[in-house]
Symmetry: C2
Subunit: 689 residues, 2 copies
């Protein structure tokens, strides 16, 4: 089926699209959704923090009983060595209770995974069985009050004492206290503590240590202190807290020594020579948290749209010319609020599937190269910020689209939004992650030229300024043709996937080259040899470009989402599904162009008339997709047990029907009172006659 | 002081700017802030819903004791006839506990005010003293499950029985149940119930009735049912619930009969002949809720920025070239996140002061004309949506800017955000309100021409399409001059307030005229006389323009905010304050132009180079305002007792100082371990030598 000959009566095949969304780990997802449908795992609205914490701990026990947590652990320990399936299943738990989900993430995805990935076989055998069975609940003690995003600068020290063959774990000032740790306030009996490893008077940088913190009956061990973080904006089923250590002694063997070790005599060794690369290798295992959140955010968006769109097709408000009150989703503004977000959700769902595939290739060892790890980290750093922000935005818009009903806990939006709020800054602050992506884009850009040949970069960037319209064959798109009033023809050339991709890719590349040029210009006049002056000038130049660099990273992520959406459509066999999803993809692509229209106009990539045509075409696409809105949310496959929102049960349609039946009955019986307005109109008509 | 000769060392006079922000009702605001500083009125994080509800009721008692609720009531009943002061004082309570604030708003601003404004002297004397003393807690029963924004279509009926001289209040189907009412689940003993008034077989439209619902000891009265709404996304100190009525009888005198009355024999009378105008007059008293929320939203934004900016000037992260870690607010992105929102907050604060002034003029009777009432309603409908949305956006950005610390209840953002969420849809759904403003803009636009002369409208609109660049003297702004690289000069012409105003006003006027033209075009081919076809075509045309109309209303509101900001600066005497606030106003104005740059480009109002210059100038303004950020939040006058955020107390600066002192001490003692990176660098240097 061609994109240019729309079939107006095309429908999606809900099960075909549903399977595409479930993706490679369909089996694990469905298994996890069955579990997430279990009332024992559901949030109880209005529970006190203390009750919710106990319930979440109990729910972790249920996950163990149900065999739901072992997938990522080694087969020799009863696991499944199934990394993609593990994250896929984890993502589905968000609709049971995000507290349960994240607490399980702390236990098995952070605490357990740190032992698995940073420790060696002795550690695995010694601790993982108890971690997996929940006999040993633990915390992941990386973040400090004084250092969140900048892990390399944490203040906690682990100083080796060769006499005792022990490490001394110490938080020398309040800023070094470990903070915001799940399982720290109440349930954790041990923690993987990140600390500066000091031996023989040398700081070898951040390493991870296994540190017992509490007895099974809840007593703190000597030298370990804990404080409760108390009430949070959400996730109150998790006992977040602070930990501090006063010269706490642990055996030398408690260093998780996969990437760096200390011999009995205190000699340090590592197979990774560069301390910087060693640090990023260790920290790199954190990527699975980002992958997990990306898909969880998408699932929450899907739930929000399923609820709001279902309600929007039943709820009526204000009399329409047709005689009945108008259904909310038939209002132009209501469509503008929800349908583009539906397109975005599809794009993000397919992008997450792609991310998960790359993740599985690396973590399964199938394609575990340095380059793939780096690509995985960049991909996760690009997608997680956009999806976690989009989830908050979509949950909020959906809640508002349902008015007061949206504010009731029983309709799910507010609880999910409160719980997912922290997604934007944990497992990597969104802005910091995007900056990471931006830096990678700059590095890749510079790598096109001879190493260090800044003159070549500048030349290339400068030539683009003059030449940029002709790159990517975009000249025809940008020309200001006199096609006013011929909107249809003027978007024609933008409708091909190639044109959309070219516009989106060009924006990333142009922004990156401009940033590179600006940074070069800002430092070129610093006298050679003045290292400090150069460092300061370079920092200032970077800072001046920081906002733009983050925007470039965002544009890059959007391009990746668009590509994932397009590839998913290419894989579909069903014609109707392809057709409707192509409209949806176009809406996503055109939406990106519309929101960045000023950039495209300033750069001469599109004419003013073309920009107006883009908006007009978006309106047309939204209208065309309106009849498919229910199908498109049905394909998410979220059952009533997963949604659990009263307003998505059909209750509103029942109320509307009851009200209408009452009015009709009264009318038929002649007991329906005439309205004063009608009387006045009749009197006026009579006076005229 | 001229705007074009900036004095780089200008500082604001914090008390001068503070007074400007406190405005006309400074005394009432300060009195209310003193009250809001009282720990008895503060939120206790993590309280259960039941406890919080009881506490909020108790807090209302404290307000009565402290003489804080009587301002708007008549002097003859012990009130102050002080409408502006009442709302000003109310707005300040948001920082004590939004539940307490809104529950007091239900009791005195809705329930009490309905008796005051819709009732007559007998009602005032009979019920207001008990309402004011809280002896009679009540609900405001307007919204129904089936009808929120469309009050005219509610299903509850009040049918007059001349035999008994009683009204029968009845909710004939589930959709007519009164919903989301504060004081309905537990504490209300009466309700002002809005119902269709039916007498002598005629429905005279919606009127308000005083209906007892519960005994003082909590028993529901016969025929009245109540259900608890349970847990909400916020405001859980308020006992929201549903009320339903099964043929409940009330005396004829319980009709609040200021605008419409029923004689003993059932004859209906009203001094307002048109049922439509009568309805809008009664509903118009609701405007005070919108005015209240507007300023409360601003206060929450001020608190959010005071906390985040204070923290942002203390918190450091990532080593800088200077040798120390960099303060967050010195990062370009952090400035981009917070400083434009500071400008917006100032604009909204001054706009709210203007709104409150108009409100007071109307409600005090000083300038109570139909036209002023209509202007007041339009102004409130324009400002409330933007400020309530901005509050959510600012609270969220501020929370994220503080990372995990922002997610802790003790730092205030999350609680305020959860509580203020509903501001976006109660007291008028934001989109519905903006549509109201848009309709008013269309009406005013049409009124420029002969009544009903659509041809003239079309002609005017069409001529603008060709001529629009020359209106408002904008041609010079739009021309594509070859000033690349001369950013300073190219924004020069935009920096005058006149140019900013012209650009902002032109956008509103052009959008409105285009919408008017599009609607006219869409209906012009409907055959004359086919009323139904015309109604349907007209509805479809309106629906197609709905999104754009709402955007036009938003642009109108932004212009009003910009104007209020500009007028406030004009009133300032202090040169430094004028200078800094002018930069801030320019940042607000340029920010609006930047966010709508695509529109200005498409319409030929600014050239591409000018658009880039706008962004460059925004960057400059942000950098220029950075040193004033703390002064600008200090001028909000929010004391530690009002902010109550741990991270705004200086605790972070103390931690930083402690950490630095520790490192310096270790260095001085020679016990600071050398880092492996440094050793490797030294070895490398030695090898080279």
């Amino acid at each position: 089926m061609s994109d240019t000959t729309p079939t107006p009566d095309a429908r999606i095949d809900v099960s075909v699209v549903g399977d595409a969304l479930l993706g490679t780990w369909k089996h694990e997802r469905l298994e996890s959704r069955r579990l997430a449908s279990d009332p024992r795992l559901h949030t109880i609205h209005g529970q006190s923090m203390a009750e919710h914490r106990e319930r979440a701990l109990g729910q972790l026990g249920i996950l163990v009983e149900e065999g739901a947590i072992q997938r990522a652990f080694p087969k020799r320990l009863g696991g499944g060595d199934n990394h993609g399936g593990n994250i896929a299943a984890f993502q589905e738990l968000v609709l049971a209770d995000p507290s349960l989900q994240i607490k399980s993430g702390v236990q098995w995805g952070l605490f357990g995974a740190a032992i698995l990935h940073l420790g060696t076989q002795q550690h695995h055998e010694r601790w993982l069985p108890d971690v997996m069975s929940l006999k040993l609940p633990g915390a992941f003690a990386m973040t400090e009050i004084g250092h969140g995003s900048d892990v390399a600068s944490i203040g906690t020290t682990a100083t080796y004492d060769p006499e005792a063959q022990e490490f001394e774990i110490h938080t020398p000032f309040a800023g070094a206290w470990k903070e915001f740790l799940g399982n720290a306030a109440l349930h954790g009996q041990a923690a993987v503590v990140f600390a500066q490893l000091i031996t023989q008077g040398v700081n070898h940088g951040v390493h991870a240590f296994f540190v017992p913190i509490r007895t099974p009956d809840g007593e703190m061990l000597p030298g370990v202190g804990s404080e409760d973080d108390g009430v949070k904006g959400g996730l109150n089923g998790i006992d977040n807290g602070r930990l501090h250590f006063t010269r706490v002694r642990i055996p030398r063997e408690n260093l998780l020594n996969r990437y760096g070790d200390v011999a009995a005599d205190g000699a340090y060794s590592s197979q990774i020579e560069s301390p910087g690369r060693r640090f990023f290798t260790m920290i790199g295992t954190l990527v699975q948290g980002r992958v997990s959140l990306d898909g969880s955010a998408v699932r929450a968006m899907q739930a929000a749209l399923a609820i709001a769109i279902t309600y929007g097709t039943q709820r009526r408000q204000f009399p329409g010319a047709s005689g009945r009150e108008t259904v909310l989703l038939d209002y132009g503004q209501h469509q503008r609020r929800l349908i583009p977000r539906l397109a975005q959700t599809y794009a993000m769902a397919f992008a997450d599937e792609r991310l998960l595939t790359v993740f599985d290739e690396v973590f399964s060892g199938a394609r575990d190269t340095d380059e793939n790890r780096e690509d995985l980290e960049t991909l996760a750093a690009a997608l997680k910020p956009l999806s976690t922000w989009a989830a908050l935005d979509t949950l909020q818009e959906a809640r508002e689209a349902c008015g007061g009903a949206g504010f009731m806990a029983k309709n799910r939006f507010v609880g999910l939004r409160a719980d997912l709020d922290i997604y934007a800054t944990f497992e990597g602050d969104n802005n910091v992650l995007l900056q990471l992506v931006g830096k990678r884009l700059l590095t890749d850009y510079a790598a096109q030229f001879k190493a260090g040949d800044r003159a070549a970069i500048a030349k290339a960037a400068a030539s683009q300024l003059g030449d940029r319209v002709s790159r990517f064959g975009l000249r025809q798109l940008g020309q200001s043709i006199a096609d006013l009033g011929q909107m249809a023809r003027s978007v024609e050339s933008l409708r091909s996937p190639e044109a959309q991709r070219a516009l989106l890719a060009d924006r990333v590349e142009t922004m990156v080259s401009e940033i590179a040029l600006a940074m070069r210009d800002a430092t070129k006049n610093v006298p050679k040899g003045n290292k400090r002056a150069k460092a300061i000038a370079s920092e200032e130049a970077f800072n001046a470009q920081q906002h733009k660099l983050i925007e470039a990273a965002r544009a890059h992520a959007e391009l990746l989402q668009w590509e994932a959406f397009t590839e998913a459509i290419d894989r579909l066999q069903d014609g109707g599904s392809r057709q409707v999803l192509t409209w949806l993809r176009d809406l996503f692509g055109f939406g990106l162009i519309e929101s960045n229209a000023a950039w495209y106009l300033v750069q001469g990539r599109i004419s003013g008339q073309r920009a107006e045509a883009v908006t007009a075409y978006i309106d047309r696409l939204i209208g065309r997709l309106r009849p498919h809105a229910l199908d498109l949310v049905e394909a998410f496959g979220l059952t009533p047990e997963l949604l659990r929102a009263e307003i998505a049960t059909g209750i509103e349609a029942e109320r509307q029907a009851e009200a209408q039946a009452y009015v009709e009955e009264q009318r038929a019986a002649g007991t329906w009172p005439v309205h004063e307005k009608e009387l006045r109109a009749r009197a006026k008509a009579a006076a005229r006659a």
